[in-house]
Symmetry: C2
Subunit: 69 residues, 2 copies
Amino acid sequence: MLKNRVKELRARYSYTQGQLGEKAGVTRQTIGFIEKGEFSPSITLSLKLAHILECKVDELFWLEGEEWK
Amino acid sequence: MLKNRVKELRARYSYTQGQLGEKAGVTRQTIGFIEKGEFSPSITLSLKLAHILECKVDELFWLEGEEWK
DNA sequence: ACAAATTGTAATGTATAGTTAACATTAAGT
DNA sequence: ACTTAATGTTAACTATACATTACAATTTGT
């Protein structure tokens, strides 16, 4: 189960979904889907988001639960 | 430009592509493609690989060049 | 209360991640 | 030299990330 802190960190910078998407090169809907956990972005997009939000990928995304181990 | 250290870390554990793929729940070809940089895996798969190879995602994958910033 | 900005959500389309199978090539062991 | 395990590579297929458009719902400012 993939979890993330995108919405929380985005709020810290007062970025709208549209602004964050623009910086990362994706649409606002893509940011919305990620925040809702509706899909698992590529590592490339994840690295860009972590860079923009000034954190490590591991702090932005993590797996929860035991099934995946 | 996405770069990675999968092949190097896989060698450290003496895993074959097949063994690493099995642990991560993907095929050996998928591991082969990732090592060659032929595609950008999902964050979910990246997190699994980092867990198996006992490192941070940021140490396993990174972006090189200036274009993406 | 009103208007504007932001976000939620759904449909449809495209690009690409990832699978499977098959065969060629290389490396390692005997 | 021979055999086997591991890897490289290609093609065809499926699943899903992400784009685009449109409109509804919610939030925010005045």
